[in-house]
Amino acid sequence: MQYMLLIHSSEAELQSASQDTVGRMHAAYMAYTEALTQAGVVVNGNRLRPTSSTTTVRIVDGKTQMLDGPYAETKEQLAGYYLIDVPDLDAALSWAARCPGASFGAIEVRPIWVM
């Protein structure tokens, strides 16, 4: 089964973090991505630019509306994702718990809808 690991974390906290902390986090993500790759479970994954660079689009009364900013203002923001392919939820949850983001924010584990 494929699962999306949605990494939510606080951009504000990350911005105010020390150089040292940021460096450690980078290293942790490198190691984590390497582990996922070694296990052959990762389909793909990406880090996202902060929400200061995001635009939200919706159509209201036939007109396209654009909004500078994320779809919802929240304490934590979507910061990145991994798409993984594992046998079941237990495996997905255990990979989510190992993600460095789990210690800084939260990882949402969403199954992919198979058509």
Binding site: Y3, P87, L89, V109, M115
Partner: protein, 408 residues
Amino acid sequence: MPHETDHLVAETAEAVARRSYGKLVAFLAARTGDVTTAEDALADAFAAALVDWPVSGIPRSPEAWLMTVARRRSVDAARRRRTRGEAADHLRLLADDWGDPMDDTAIPDRRLALMFACAHPAIDPAIRAPLILQTILGFDGAAIASALLVSPATMSQRLVRAKHKIRYAGIPFRVPERAEMAERLDAVLAAIYAAYSEGWPEGAGRNLAEEALWLGRLVAALLPEEPEALGLLALMLHAEARRAARSDAAGAYVPLDEQDTALWHTDMIEEAESLLLRASTMGMIGRYQLEAAVQSAHAARRLTGRSDWAAIERLYAALSAMTDSPVVAINHAIAIAETQGAEPGLASLDAHAMDKRLADYQPYWAARAELLRRTGEADAADQAYRRAIDLATDAAVRDYLRRRRMLI
């Protein structure tokens, strides 16, 4: 057997349903994770049995008969599915388990795996017990709702949602590995105990307490090396053994220390004691074993004339260290009142007075009232009794508290 009456057929179908419902659901759903379809297919199979059996006779292996029909229905249901990919997947999974079982014993027992799926950490803790009652025992949503005092519509909705979650989130049907067993088993046991506790009040229809006891026996039989599974069964048996003594002839509530021990069910107590003894040899203490040991210390009164309060206090101290349960805190205070006097008991209770969970908790106010009465603080005792009476939902308990209040 062409002359069987409908009555006998219905009885046999019911007996099979009781004994093997969960086993059949677990087997049908194990591969696909689709509990809803398994339940629907099984309901169809039971309906078909009531039509077929009076004519053709009760089959030699009723379970295998039902399984064959239910599987056929599952396949039909999968074929009807809109999305082709999903149907093909489903059919492949069903075919993996093909090969018709010739007799009832050929059907593997996957109930434990189903229970672990129902009590998975990804499932809302509040719906775990209802889910187990439904999938393993075949309780309908309305019966569970009435036992748990929630609306049938809400309960059905939450059960449907939980089953969807099991299926679409890919919750596995599997007994956990050694490393995660303790924590995961605790969730299963907690769900069974919740069903048991809800089942205390006497009511119409199927008795939840009895069914929970049945589940407890099932888990203890399937996991005989897990001391906490034995501990929970011992705990429930001790409580069950006192059922007849809990109310007098007029239906009034009788508290534990005033119960006539002659009314206790000796066989159940002895079974509980031997389970607890067996659990204690496994060298892994836990919440249910400790709670069962408390009940065992109370049961000692039938032999010695007095509960072993010193042991009870020690056991509750151990439980307090293990859990953050306000119920344990209250019982610990009551035990202290017995061993050291009402004032130290009250002091121990005071330490938890700020706990928000106790503000509307009837047993807390009842315990507080009782200890205040014993220390001679009449006004405070009266207030606490009034609070406890207001909060009591059981009429017999309310009457008992009123009688205690008169003693001030």
